[in-house]
Protein backbone atom coordinates (compact mmCIF):
# COMPACT_ATOMS: atom_id res chain seq x y z
CA UNK A 1 0.00 0.00 0.00
CA UNK A 2 1.12 3.47 -0.85
CA UNK A 3 0.31 4.93 2.56
CA UNK A 4 2.27 2.34 4.51
CA UNK A 5 5.20 2.87 2.19
CA UNK A 6 5.31 6.57 2.78
CA UNK A 7 4.87 6.01 6.49
CA UNK A 8 7.91 3.76 6.46
CA UNK A 9 9.88 6.41 4.66
CA UNK A 10 8.83 9.14 7.05
CA UNK A 11 9.27 7.17 10.24
CA UNK A 12 9.49 10.45 12.08
CA UNK A 13 5.89 11.75 12.05
CA UNK A 14 7.12 15.32 11.72
CA UNK A 15 9.53 14.57 8.88
CA UNK A 16 7.18 16.11 6.32
CA UNK A 17 7.72 19.44 8.03
CA UNK A 18 11.22 19.55 6.65
CA UNK A 19 9.50 20.33 3.36
CA UNK A 20 7.41 23.09 4.84
CA UNK A 21 8.34 25.50 2.08
CA UNK A 22 7.02 23.16 -0.61
CA UNK A 23 3.82 22.63 1.34
CA UNK A 24 3.39 26.34 1.95
CA UNK A 25 3.81 27.08 -1.75
CA UNK A 26 1.33 24.39 -2.73
CA UNK A 27 -1.16 25.57 -0.12
CA UNK A 28 -0.92 29.14 -1.45
CA UNK A 29 -1.30 27.95 -5.03
CA UNK A 30 -4.39 25.96 -4.02
CA UNK A 31 -6.29 29.05 -2.94
CA UNK A 32 -7.76 30.10 -6.32
CA UNK A 33 -8.65 26.46 -7.00
CA UNK A 34 -10.41 25.79 -3.69
CA UNK A 35 -11.84 29.20 -2.85
CA UNK A 36 -14.61 29.05 -5.52
CA UNK A 37 -15.78 25.63 -4.33
CA UNK A 38 -15.77 26.64 -0.70
CA UNK A 39 -17.62 29.85 -1.47
CA UNK A 40 -20.16 28.06 -3.61
CA UNK A 41 -20.93 25.48 -0.93
CA UNK A 42 -21.00 27.82 2.03
CA UNK A 43 -23.14 30.38 0.16
CA UNK A 44 -25.63 27.72 -0.83
CA UNK A 45 -26.98 27.73 2.74
CA UNK A 46 -27.00 31.50 3.20
CA UNK A 47 -30.01 33.75 2.82
CA UNK A 48 -29.94 36.33 0.05
CA UNK A 49 -29.03 39.01 2.60
CA UNK A 50 -26.25 37.13 4.39
CA UNK A 51 -24.54 36.15 1.19
CA UNK A 52 -22.43 39.30 1.04
CA UNK A 53 -21.43 39.40 4.72
CA UNK A 54 -17.77 40.03 5.16
CA UNK A 55 -15.72 38.55 6.63
CA UNK A 56 -17.74 35.45 5.96
CA UNK A 57 -18.13 32.80 8.63
CA UNK A 58 -16.33 29.58 7.68
CA UNK A 59 -19.76 28.05 7.63
CA UNK A 60 -22.95 30.05 8.32
CA UNK A 61 -24.12 29.94 11.92
CA UNK A 62 -27.77 29.51 10.95
CA UNK A 63 -27.66 27.44 7.77
CA UNK A 64 -30.58 28.32 5.58
CA UNK A 65 -31.46 24.91 4.16
CA UNK A 66 -34.62 26.28 2.56
CA UNK A 67 -32.54 27.36 -0.47
CA UNK A 68 -32.38 23.74 -1.49
CA UNK A 69 -36.16 23.48 -1.31
CA UNK A 70 -36.74 26.71 -3.19
CA UNK A 71 -34.45 25.60 -5.99
CA UNK A 72 -36.94 22.89 -6.87
CA UNK A 73 -39.97 25.17 -6.82
CA UNK A 74 -38.41 28.06 -8.76
CA UNK A 75 -38.12 25.91 -11.87
CA UNK A 76 -38.59 22.16 -12.53
CA UNK A 77 -35.08 21.47 -11.28
CA UNK A 78 -35.65 17.78 -10.47
CA UNK A 79 -36.90 17.22 -13.98
CA UNK A 80 -33.94 19.16 -15.42
CA UNK A 81 -31.54 17.10 -13.31
CA UNK A 82 -33.16 13.93 -14.61
CA UNK A 83 -32.89 15.22 -18.19
CA UNK A 84 -29.15 15.67 -17.80
CA UNK A 85 -28.71 12.23 -16.24
CA UNK A 86 -30.76 10.62 -19.00
CA UNK A 87 -29.08 12.42 -21.90
CA UNK A 88 -25.56 11.91 -20.59
CA UNK A 89 -26.20 8.20 -19.96
CA UNK A 90 -27.65 7.56 -23.40
CA UNK A 91 -24.86 9.53 -25.09
CA UNK A 92 -22.22 7.58 -23.14
CA UNK A 93 -23.70 4.18 -24.04
CA UNK A 94 -24.05 5.21 -27.68
CA UNK A 95 -20.50 6.52 -27.98
CA UNK A 96 -19.01 3.43 -26.28
CA UNK A 97 -20.89 1.15 -28.65
CA UNK A 98 -20.08 2.96 -31.86
CA UNK A 99 -16.54 3.96 -31.00
CA UNK A 100 -15.45 0.54 -29.76
CA UNK A 101 -16.76 -1.13 -32.93
CA UNK A 102 -15.12 1.30 -35.32
CA UNK A 103 -11.98 1.76 -33.22
CA UNK A 104 -11.50 -2.00 -33.20
CA UNK A 105 -12.01 -2.30 -36.95
CA UNK A 106 -9.48 0.45 -37.69
CA UNK A 107 -6.94 -1.21 -35.41
CA UNK A 108 -7.38 -4.84 -36.38
CA UNK A 109 -9.44 -5.70 -39.43
CA UNK A 110 -8.00 -5.49 -42.95
CA UNK A 111 -10.51 -4.02 -45.36
CA UNK A 112 -10.25 -1.88 -48.47
CA UNK A 113 -10.42 1.85 -47.76
CA UNK A 114 -9.49 1.48 -44.12
CA UNK A 115 -6.71 4.03 -44.04
CA UNK A 116 -8.67 6.51 -46.16
CA UNK A 117 -11.67 6.32 -43.84
CA UNK A 118 -9.49 6.62 -40.79
CA UNK A 119 -7.67 9.63 -42.19
CA UNK A 120 -11.06 11.35 -42.56
CA UNK A 121 -11.86 10.64 -38.93
CA UNK A 122 -8.43 11.89 -37.90
CA UNK A 123 -8.96 15.17 -39.77
CA UNK A 124 -12.30 15.66 -38.03
CA UNK A 125 -10.56 15.40 -34.64
CA UNK A 126 -9.10 18.86 -34.95
CA UNK A 127 -12.16 20.70 -36.22
CA UNK A 128 -13.89 22.75 -33.53
CA UNK A 129 -17.50 21.62 -33.15
CA UNK A 130 -18.59 25.27 -33.40
CA UNK A 131 -17.80 25.18 -37.12
CA UNK A 132 -20.69 22.81 -37.80
CA UNK A 133 -23.38 24.20 -35.48
CA UNK A 134 -25.18 26.20 -38.18
CA UNK A 135 -25.67 23.36 -40.71
CA UNK A 136 -26.55 20.97 -37.88
CA UNK A 137 -29.07 23.43 -36.50
CA UNK A 138 -30.71 23.79 -39.90
CA UNK A 139 -30.81 20.04 -40.34
CA UNK A 140 -32.48 19.61 -36.95
CA UNK A 141 -34.95 22.36 -37.82
CA UNK A 142 -35.82 20.64 -41.09
CA UNK A 143 -36.34 17.36 -39.23
CA UNK A 144 -38.54 19.14 -36.69
CA UNK A 145 -36.32 18.10 -33.79
CA UNK A 146 -35.91 21.55 -32.27
CA UNK A 147 -37.03 21.69 -28.66
CA UNK A 148 -36.54 17.97 -28.18
CA UNK A 149 -33.66 16.01 -26.68
CA UNK A 150 -32.92 14.22 -29.95
CA UNK A 151 -30.19 16.63 -31.18
CA UNK A 152 -28.52 16.58 -27.77
CA UNK A 153 -28.27 12.81 -28.05
CA UNK A 154 -27.55 12.01 -31.68
CA UNK A 155 -25.14 14.83 -32.52
CA UNK A 156 -22.61 13.94 -29.79
CA UNK A 157 -23.02 10.21 -30.39
CA UNK A 158 -22.33 10.41 -34.10
CA UNK A 159 -20.28 13.61 -34.26
CA UNK A 160 -17.43 14.77 -32.06
CA UNK A 161 -18.01 12.11 -29.37
CA UNK A 162 -17.54 9.10 -31.56
CA UNK A 163 -14.79 10.76 -33.59
CA UNK A 164 -12.63 11.11 -30.51
CA UNK A 165 -13.85 7.77 -29.14
CA UNK A 166 -12.91 5.96 -32.34
CA UNK A 167 -9.43 7.42 -32.19
CA UNK A 168 -9.00 6.52 -28.52
CA UNK A 169 -10.31 2.97 -28.86
CA UNK A 170 -8.12 2.38 -31.92
CA UNK A 171 -5.06 3.44 -29.93
CA UNK A 172 -6.01 0.98 -27.23
CA UNK A 173 -6.66 -1.98 -29.51
CA UNK A 174 -3.43 -1.32 -31.44
CA UNK A 175 -1.36 -1.99 -28.36
CA UNK A 176 -3.27 -5.14 -27.43
CA UNK A 177 -1.14 -8.19 -28.38
CA UNK A 178 -2.52 -9.93 -31.47
CA UNK A 179 -1.69 -13.37 -30.07
CA UNK A 180 -4.53 -13.07 -27.57
CA UNK A 181 -7.00 -13.00 -30.43
CA UNK A 182 -5.41 -15.78 -32.45
CA UNK A 183 -6.64 -18.45 -30.07
CA UNK A 184 -10.16 -17.24 -30.84
CA UNK A 185 -9.55 -17.64 -34.56
CA UNK A 186 -8.33 -21.19 -34.00
CA UNK A 187 -11.47 -21.92 -32.00
CA UNK A 188 -13.47 -20.97 -35.09
CA UNK A 189 -14.83 -17.67 -33.85
CA UNK A 190 -15.67 -15.12 -36.49
CA UNK A 191 -14.55 -11.51 -36.10
CA UNK A 192 -17.63 -10.49 -34.20
CA UNK A 193 -17.07 -13.30 -31.71
CA UNK A 194 -13.44 -12.35 -31.27
CA UNK A 195 -14.48 -8.76 -30.67
CA UNK A 196 -17.23 -9.43 -28.15
CA UNK A 197 -15.63 -12.36 -26.31
CA UNK A 198 -11.94 -11.50 -26.33
CA UNK A 199 -11.13 -7.92 -27.30
CA UNK A 200 -13.98 -6.03 -25.65
CA UNK A 201 -13.60 -7.56 -22.16
CA UNK A 202 -9.92 -6.64 -22.27
CA UNK A 203 -10.79 -3.07 -23.25
CA UNK A 204 -12.53 -2.31 -19.99
CA UNK A 205 -9.97 0.34 -18.87
CA UNK A 206 -10.19 2.19 -22.18
CA UNK A 207 -13.99 1.95 -22.19
CA UNK A 208 -14.06 3.31 -18.66
CA UNK A 209 -11.88 6.24 -19.60
CA UNK A 210 -14.00 6.99 -22.66
CA UNK A 211 -17.14 6.73 -20.55
CA UNK A 212 -15.83 9.28 -18.04
CA UNK A 213 -14.89 11.76 -20.77
CA UNK A 214 -18.10 11.33 -22.73
CA UNK A 215 -20.38 11.53 -19.72
CA UNK A 216 -18.75 14.68 -18.38
CA UNK A 217 -18.66 16.36 -21.80
CA UNK A 218 -22.39 15.76 -22.18
CA UNK A 219 -23.17 16.65 -18.55
CA UNK A 220 -21.29 19.95 -18.84
CA UNK A 221 -22.36 20.92 -22.38
CA UNK A 222 -23.90 24.34 -22.71
CA UNK A 223 -23.88 25.57 -26.33
CA UNK A 224 -25.90 22.70 -27.85
CA UNK A 225 -28.67 22.70 -25.21
CA UNK A 226 -28.81 26.48 -25.51
CA UNK A 227 -29.53 26.18 -29.21
CA UNK A 228 -31.80 23.17 -29.30
CA UNK A 229 -33.98 23.39 -26.20
CA UNK A 230 -36.37 26.21 -25.25
CA UNK A 231 -38.84 24.88 -22.68
CA UNK A 232 -37.99 24.81 -18.98
CA UNK A 233 -39.01 21.14 -18.46
CA UNK A 234 -36.62 20.14 -21.25
CA UNK A 235 -33.63 22.09 -19.91
CA UNK A 236 -30.39 20.36 -19.00
CA UNK A 237 -28.46 21.26 -15.85
CA UNK A 238 -26.13 23.95 -17.27
CA UNK A 239 -29.11 25.73 -18.85
CA UNK A 240 -31.05 25.47 -15.61
CA UNK A 241 -28.15 26.86 -13.57
CA UNK A 242 -27.86 29.88 -15.84
CA UNK A 243 -31.57 30.47 -15.44
CA UNK A 244 -31.77 31.28 -11.73
CA UNK A 245 -32.17 34.99 -12.47
CA UNK A 246 -34.90 37.55 -11.92
CA UNK A 247 -36.85 39.26 -14.67
CA UNK A 248 -33.95 41.67 -15.29
CA UNK A 249 -31.36 38.95 -15.57
CA UNK A 250 -29.87 39.67 -12.13
CA UNK A 251 -28.81 36.38 -10.55
CA UNK A 252 -30.76 35.14 -7.53
CA UNK A 253 -27.49 34.30 -5.90
CA UNK A 254 -28.73 32.19 -3.01
CA UNK A 255 -30.72 29.94 -5.37
CA UNK A 256 -28.17 29.93 -8.14
CA UNK A 257 -25.34 28.91 -5.85
CA UNK A 258 -27.50 26.28 -4.13
CA UNK A 259 -28.44 24.79 -7.50
CA UNK A 260 -24.82 24.94 -8.67
CA UNK A 261 -23.80 23.12 -5.50
CA UNK A 262 -26.39 20.42 -6.20
CA UNK A 263 -25.02 20.04 -9.74
CA UNK A 264 -21.32 20.09 -8.89
CA UNK A 265 -21.01 18.26 -5.57
CA UNK A 266 -22.12 14.80 -6.78
CA UNK A 267 -19.51 14.96 -9.54
CA UNK A 268 -16.88 16.02 -7.01
CA UNK A 269 -17.85 13.14 -4.70
CA UNK A 270 -17.38 10.60 -7.48
CA UNK A 271 -14.10 12.34 -8.27
CA UNK A 272 -12.86 12.04 -4.69
CA UNK A 273 -13.30 8.28 -4.84
CA UNK A 274 -12.10 7.70 -8.39
CA UNK A 275 -9.53 10.46 -8.65
CA UNK A 276 -6.82 8.38 -10.30
CA UNK A 277 -9.12 6.83 -12.91
CA UNK A 278 -10.72 10.15 -13.78
CA UNK A 279 -7.43 12.00 -14.14
CA UNK A 280 -6.01 9.14 -16.21
CA UNK A 281 -9.06 9.32 -18.47
CA UNK A 282 -8.45 12.97 -19.14
CA UNK A 283 -4.83 12.33 -19.94
CA UNK A 284 -6.01 10.31 -22.94
CA UNK A 285 -7.04 13.62 -24.48
CA UNK A 286 -3.43 14.69 -24.24
CA UNK A 287 -2.11 11.87 -26.39
CA UNK A 288 -4.13 12.77 -29.46
CA UNK A 289 -2.71 14.77 -32.33
Amino acid sequence: MRSSLSRARFSNPFAWMRHWRAYLLMALMSVPFLFPFWWMISSSVKGLNDIFLFPPPLFPANPNWSNFVEVFSYQPFARQYANSLFISTVVTIGVLLIASLSGYAYARIAFRGRSAFFLLVLCALMIPAEVTIIPNFRMMTALNWINTHVPLIIIPIFGAGSVFGTFMMRQFFLQLPREIEESGMLDGLNRFGIFTRIALPLARPALGALAVLTFLASWNAYLEPLLYVNDLPLFTLPLALANFVDAYGTPLWHLQLAATTLAVVPVLLVYVFAQRQIIDSFMQTGVKG
Binding site: E130, I133, I134, F192, Y222, L241, Q275, G286
Partner: protein
Amino acid sequence: MKTTLAPRRRGLTWAQKDSVWGYAFVTPQLIGFTVFVLIPIVSVFLFSLESRNLLSGKVSFIGLDNYGTMAARDPLFWKTVGNTLIFSAGLVPFNIALALLLANMLARALAGITFFRAVFFAPVITASVAWAIVWQFLLQGDRGPINQLLAALGITGPDWLRTEGWAMAAVIFSRVIKTVGLNTVIFLAALKNIPTEYVEAAQIDGATRAQVFRRITLPLLAPTTLLVTVITVIGSLQVFDHIVMLTQGGPANSTFVLVYYIYFQAFKVFETGYASSLAVVLFVIALTLTLAQWALRRRFVYNEV
Protein backbone atom coordinates in the same frame (compact mmCIF):
# COMPACT_ATOMS: atom_id res chain seq x y z
CA MET B 1 -33.01 -38.10 -52.12
CA LYS B 2 -29.74 -36.38 -52.22
CA THR B 3 -31.02 -33.51 -54.37
CA THR B 4 -33.18 -32.12 -51.51
CA LEU B 5 -30.03 -31.05 -49.74
CA ALA B 6 -29.05 -27.53 -50.66
CA PRO B 7 -25.80 -27.45 -52.54
CA ARG B 8 -23.02 -26.12 -50.32
CA ARG B 9 -22.59 -22.41 -51.05
CA ARG B 10 -19.30 -21.36 -52.44
CA GLY B 11 -18.00 -19.97 -49.18
CA LEU B 12 -16.01 -16.81 -48.67
CA THR B 13 -12.61 -17.24 -47.10
CA TRP B 14 -12.12 -16.12 -43.50
CA ALA B 15 -10.25 -13.06 -44.68
CA GLN B 16 -13.03 -12.07 -47.05
CA LYS B 17 -15.66 -12.50 -44.37
CA ASP B 18 -13.41 -10.56 -42.07
CA SER B 19 -13.32 -7.56 -44.36
CA VAL B 20 -17.12 -7.65 -44.49
CA TRP B 21 -17.09 -7.50 -40.68
CA GLY B 22 -14.72 -4.57 -40.99
CA TYR B 23 -17.23 -2.59 -43.03
CA ALA B 24 -20.03 -3.59 -40.68
CA PHE B 25 -18.03 -2.38 -37.67
CA VAL B 26 -17.19 1.06 -39.07
CA THR B 27 -20.51 1.72 -40.83
CA PRO B 28 -22.50 3.18 -37.90
CA GLN B 29 -19.73 5.61 -37.09
CA LEU B 30 -19.06 6.44 -40.73
CA ILE B 31 -22.71 7.17 -41.52
CA GLY B 32 -23.12 9.36 -38.44
CA PHE B 33 -19.83 11.06 -39.20
CA THR B 34 -20.89 11.79 -42.76
CA VAL B 35 -24.27 13.19 -41.70
CA PHE B 36 -23.22 15.24 -38.67
CA VAL B 37 -19.64 16.24 -39.49
CA LEU B 38 -18.71 15.81 -43.15
CA ILE B 39 -21.84 17.17 -44.82
CA PRO B 40 -22.08 20.08 -42.34
CA ILE B 41 -18.49 21.08 -43.07
CA VAL B 42 -19.15 21.14 -46.79
CA SER B 43 -22.47 22.94 -46.15
CA VAL B 44 -20.91 25.64 -44.03
CA PHE B 45 -18.73 26.61 -46.99
CA LEU B 46 -21.78 26.71 -49.26
CA PHE B 47 -23.86 28.64 -46.71
CA SER B 48 -21.10 31.19 -46.44
CA LEU B 49 -21.79 32.15 -50.06
CA GLU B 50 -25.34 33.20 -49.42
CA SER B 51 -27.19 35.86 -47.52
CA ARG B 52 -29.77 34.08 -45.42
CA ASN B 53 -31.90 35.39 -42.62
CA LEU B 54 -33.29 32.64 -40.42
CA LEU B 55 -36.28 34.73 -39.33
CA SER B 56 -37.43 36.34 -42.57
CA GLY B 57 -36.37 33.30 -44.59
CA LYS B 58 -34.85 35.58 -47.26
CA VAL B 59 -32.11 33.82 -49.19
CA SER B 60 -29.91 35.01 -52.01
CA PHE B 61 -26.64 33.83 -53.45
CA ILE B 62 -24.05 36.54 -53.01
CA GLY B 63 -20.78 34.79 -53.83
CA LEU B 64 -17.91 35.97 -51.71
CA ASP B 65 -19.68 39.10 -50.49
CA ASN B 66 -19.81 37.87 -46.89
CA TYR B 67 -16.03 37.71 -46.88
CA GLY B 68 -15.88 41.19 -48.37
CA THR B 69 -18.18 42.49 -45.65
CA MET B 70 -16.06 40.82 -43.05
CA ALA B 71 -12.82 42.26 -44.34
CA ALA B 72 -13.92 45.80 -45.15
CA ARG B 73 -17.31 46.68 -43.71
CA ASP B 74 -17.61 44.99 -40.33
CA PRO B 75 -15.43 46.60 -37.65
CA LEU B 76 -16.96 44.24 -35.07
CA PHE B 77 -15.43 41.28 -36.92
CA TRP B 78 -11.93 42.73 -36.60
CA LYS B 79 -12.70 43.60 -33.01
CA THR B 80 -13.62 39.96 -32.29
CA VAL B 81 -10.52 38.68 -34.07
CA GLY B 82 -8.39 41.07 -32.04
CA ASN B 83 -10.14 40.04 -28.82
CA THR B 84 -9.64 36.37 -29.62
CA LEU B 85 -5.95 37.05 -30.18
CA ILE B 86 -5.68 38.96 -26.91
CA PHE B 87 -7.52 36.18 -25.12
CA SER B 88 -5.25 33.48 -26.56
CA ALA B 89 -2.10 35.53 -26.10
CA GLY B 90 -3.01 36.05 -22.46
CA LEU B 91 -4.34 32.62 -21.69
CA VAL B 92 -1.85 30.32 -23.40
CA PRO B 93 1.47 31.51 -21.89
CA PHE B 94 -0.13 31.96 -18.46
CA ASN B 95 -1.71 28.52 -18.63
CA ILE B 96 1.46 26.77 -19.76
CA ALA B 97 3.77 28.53 -17.33
CA LEU B 98 1.42 27.76 -14.45
CA ALA B 99 0.99 24.15 -15.60
CA LEU B 100 4.78 23.72 -15.71
CA LEU B 101 5.15 25.19 -12.25
CA LEU B 102 2.39 23.03 -10.76
CA ALA B 103 3.67 19.90 -12.49
CA ASN B 104 7.15 20.47 -11.10
CA MET B 105 5.71 20.91 -7.63
CA LEU B 106 3.63 17.77 -7.95
CA ALA B 107 6.53 15.73 -9.30
CA ARG B 108 8.20 15.71 -5.87
CA ALA B 109 7.70 12.60 -3.79
CA LEU B 110 6.09 14.23 -0.77
CA ALA B 111 3.44 12.78 1.49
CA GLY B 112 -0.05 13.96 0.58
CA ILE B 113 0.97 15.13 -2.88
CA THR B 114 -2.03 13.40 -4.49
CA PHE B 115 -4.30 15.65 -2.47
CA PHE B 116 -2.82 18.70 -4.16
CA ARG B 117 -2.99 17.01 -7.55
CA ALA B 118 -6.69 16.43 -6.92
CA VAL B 119 -7.18 20.08 -5.95
CA PHE B 120 -5.51 21.48 -9.07
CA PHE B 121 -7.49 19.12 -11.27
CA ALA B 122 -10.92 19.56 -9.66
CA PRO B 123 -11.99 22.56 -11.79
CA VAL B 124 -11.35 20.54 -14.97
CA ILE B 125 -14.24 18.18 -14.20
CA THR B 126 -16.53 21.01 -13.10
CA ALA B 127 -19.06 22.31 -15.63
CA SER B 128 -17.77 25.56 -17.08
CA VAL B 129 -21.20 27.13 -16.55
CA ALA B 130 -21.06 26.28 -12.85
CA TRP B 131 -17.50 27.52 -12.62
CA ALA B 132 -18.39 30.79 -14.38
CA ILE B 133 -21.41 31.33 -12.11
CA VAL B 134 -19.23 31.13 -9.02
CA TRP B 135 -16.62 33.45 -10.51
CA GLN B 136 -19.28 35.92 -11.56
CA PHE B 137 -20.29 35.99 -7.93
CA LEU B 138 -16.72 36.32 -6.65
CA LEU B 139 -15.85 39.09 -9.14
CA GLN B 140 -18.75 41.46 -8.42
CA GLY B 141 -17.72 45.06 -8.14
CA ASP B 142 -19.33 46.53 -5.05
CA ARG B 143 -19.68 43.63 -2.67
CA GLY B 144 -18.01 40.65 -4.33
CA PRO B 145 -15.86 38.51 -2.02
CA ILE B 146 -12.66 39.23 -3.93
CA ASN B 147 -13.12 42.98 -3.65
CA GLN B 148 -14.10 42.69 0.01
CA LEU B 149 -10.93 40.72 0.59
CA LEU B 150 -8.92 43.41 -1.22
CA ALA B 151 -10.73 46.10 0.76
CA ALA B 152 -9.63 44.40 3.97
CA LEU B 153 -6.07 44.84 2.68
CA GLY B 154 -6.77 48.48 1.89
CA ILE B 155 -7.07 48.03 -1.87
CA THR B 156 -10.10 49.20 -3.82
CA GLY B 157 -10.78 46.55 -6.45
CA PRO B 158 -12.34 47.52 -9.79
CA ASP B 159 -15.73 46.31 -10.99
CA TRP B 160 -13.89 43.45 -12.66
CA LEU B 161 -16.43 42.29 -15.21
CA ARG B 162 -17.71 45.74 -16.16
CA THR B 163 -14.42 47.55 -16.65
CA GLU B 164 -12.66 47.44 -20.00
CA GLY B 165 -9.34 45.67 -19.70
CA TRP B 166 -10.09 44.12 -16.31
CA ALA B 167 -12.98 42.13 -17.80
CA MET B 168 -10.68 40.34 -20.24
CA ALA B 169 -8.09 39.78 -17.52
CA ALA B 170 -10.74 38.33 -15.18
CA VAL B 171 -12.09 36.03 -17.90
CA ILE B 172 -8.59 34.81 -18.71
CA PHE B 173 -7.68 34.25 -15.06
CA SER B 174 -10.80 32.28 -14.18
CA ARG B 175 -10.46 30.27 -17.39
CA VAL B 176 -6.82 29.40 -16.66
CA ILE B 177 -7.68 28.18 -13.17
CA LYS B 178 -10.47 26.10 -14.71
CA THR B 179 -8.31 24.42 -17.34
CA VAL B 180 -4.71 24.41 -16.10
CA GLY B 181 -5.15 21.09 -14.25
CA LEU B 182 -5.33 19.15 -17.49
CA ASN B 183 -2.07 20.56 -18.83
CA THR B 184 -0.53 20.03 -15.41
CA VAL B 185 -1.19 16.29 -15.38
CA ILE B 186 0.04 15.96 -18.97
CA PHE B 187 3.30 17.70 -18.00
CA LEU B 188 3.48 15.63 -14.84
CA ALA B 189 3.33 12.40 -16.85
CA ALA B 190 6.05 13.69 -19.18
CA LEU B 191 8.22 14.72 -16.23
CA LYS B 192 8.01 11.23 -14.79
CA ASN B 193 9.33 9.87 -18.09
CA ILE B 194 12.54 11.85 -17.83
CA PRO B 195 15.26 9.45 -16.70
CA THR B 196 16.41 10.41 -13.21
CA GLU B 197 20.02 9.74 -14.24
CA TYR B 198 20.04 12.93 -16.31
CA VAL B 199 19.00 15.04 -13.37
CA GLU B 200 21.30 13.23 -10.95
CA ALA B 201 24.27 13.59 -13.28
CA ALA B 202 23.64 17.31 -13.52
CA GLN B 203 23.29 17.62 -9.77
CA ILE B 204 26.60 15.81 -9.26
CA ASP B 205 28.12 18.35 -11.63
CA GLY B 206 26.83 21.00 -9.27
CA ALA B 207 23.86 22.29 -11.22
CA THR B 208 21.33 24.29 -9.25
CA ARG B 209 17.65 23.42 -9.33
CA ALA B 210 16.97 26.30 -11.72
CA GLN B 211 19.77 25.17 -14.03
CA VAL B 212 18.47 21.61 -14.07
CA PHE B 213 15.05 22.92 -15.00
CA ARG B 214 16.32 25.22 -17.75
CA ARG B 215 18.98 22.98 -19.27
CA ILE B 216 17.50 19.51 -18.83
CA THR B 217 13.83 19.43 -17.93
CA LEU B 218 12.62 22.11 -20.30
CA PRO B 219 14.39 20.84 -23.45
CA LEU B 220 13.24 17.27 -22.77
CA LEU B 221 9.68 18.51 -22.33
CA ALA B 222 9.73 20.32 -25.69
CA PRO B 223 7.56 17.80 -27.62
CA THR B 224 5.01 17.77 -24.80
CA THR B 225 5.07 21.55 -24.57
CA LEU B 226 4.38 21.83 -28.28
CA LEU B 227 1.43 19.45 -28.08
CA VAL B 228 0.03 21.12 -24.99
CA THR B 229 0.44 24.55 -26.60
CA VAL B 230 -1.52 23.57 -29.69
CA ILE B 231 -4.29 21.93 -27.64
CA THR B 232 -4.48 25.01 -25.45
CA VAL B 233 -4.51 27.45 -28.37
CA ILE B 234 -7.29 25.56 -30.15
CA GLY B 235 -9.19 25.31 -26.87
CA SER B 236 -8.79 29.04 -26.31
CA LEU B 237 -10.35 29.74 -29.72
CA GLN B 238 -13.44 27.84 -28.62
CA VAL B 239 -14.19 29.71 -25.41
CA PHE B 240 -17.92 30.33 -25.25
CA ASP B 241 -19.64 29.34 -21.99
CA HIS B 242 -17.32 31.55 -20.00
CA ILE B 243 -18.00 34.61 -22.13
CA VAL B 244 -21.77 34.10 -22.13
CA MET B 245 -21.90 33.69 -18.37
CA LEU B 246 -19.38 36.34 -17.33
CA THR B 247 -19.53 39.25 -19.75
CA GLN B 248 -21.73 38.57 -22.82
CA GLY B 249 -19.00 40.13 -24.86
CA GLY B 250 -18.92 43.37 -22.90
CA PRO B 251 -17.99 45.89 -21.67
CA ALA B 252 -17.79 47.88 -24.91
CA ASN B 253 -17.34 44.59 -26.82
CA SER B 254 -13.96 44.13 -25.17
CA THR B 255 -14.52 40.38 -24.58
CA PHE B 256 -16.47 39.70 -27.78
CA VAL B 257 -14.57 36.69 -29.15
CA LEU B 258 -14.95 34.87 -32.45
CA VAL B 259 -17.08 31.88 -31.37
CA TYR B 260 -19.39 34.16 -29.45
CA TYR B 261 -19.66 36.30 -32.57
CA ILE B 262 -20.63 33.26 -34.67
CA TYR B 263 -23.32 32.48 -32.10
CA PHE B 264 -24.41 36.11 -32.03
CA GLN B 265 -24.75 36.43 -35.81
CA ALA B 266 -26.46 33.07 -36.25
CA PHE B 267 -28.79 32.91 -33.26
CA LYS B 268 -29.25 36.47 -32.03
CA VAL B 269 -29.55 38.45 -35.26
CA PHE B 270 -30.23 35.32 -37.37
CA GLU B 271 -27.81 36.13 -40.18
CA THR B 272 -26.85 32.51 -40.77
CA GLY B 273 -25.13 33.19 -44.08
CA TYR B 274 -22.74 35.69 -42.57
CA ALA B 275 -22.32 33.53 -39.46
CA SER B 276 -21.31 30.62 -41.72
CA SER B 277 -18.55 32.68 -43.27
CA LEU B 278 -17.32 33.43 -39.73
CA ALA B 279 -17.38 29.69 -39.00
CA VAL B 280 -15.24 29.15 -42.10
CA VAL B 281 -12.70 31.58 -40.67
CA LEU B 282 -12.63 29.58 -37.43
CA PHE B 283 -12.19 26.39 -39.43
CA VAL B 284 -9.26 27.82 -41.38
CA ILE B 285 -7.54 29.04 -38.20
CA ALA B 286 -7.90 25.64 -36.47
CA LEU B 287 -6.70 23.83 -39.58
CA THR B 288 -3.66 26.09 -39.94
CA LEU B 289 -2.69 25.56 -36.31
CA THR B 290 -2.95 21.80 -36.57
CA LEU B 291 -0.92 21.65 -39.78
CA ALA B 292 1.68 23.90 -38.18
CA GLN B 293 1.83 21.54 -35.25
CA TRP B 294 2.37 18.55 -37.54
CA ALA B 295 5.14 20.37 -39.40
CA LEU B 296 6.85 21.46 -36.19
CA ARG B 297 6.46 18.03 -34.70
CA ARG B 298 8.30 16.40 -37.53
CA ARG B 299 11.22 18.63 -36.72
CA PHE B 300 10.94 17.97 -33.00
CA VAL B 301 11.00 14.20 -33.43
CA TYR B 302 14.77 14.45 -33.87
CA ASN B 303 15.07 15.81 -30.39
CA GLU B 304 12.89 13.21 -28.74
CA VAL B 305 14.73 10.86 -26.41
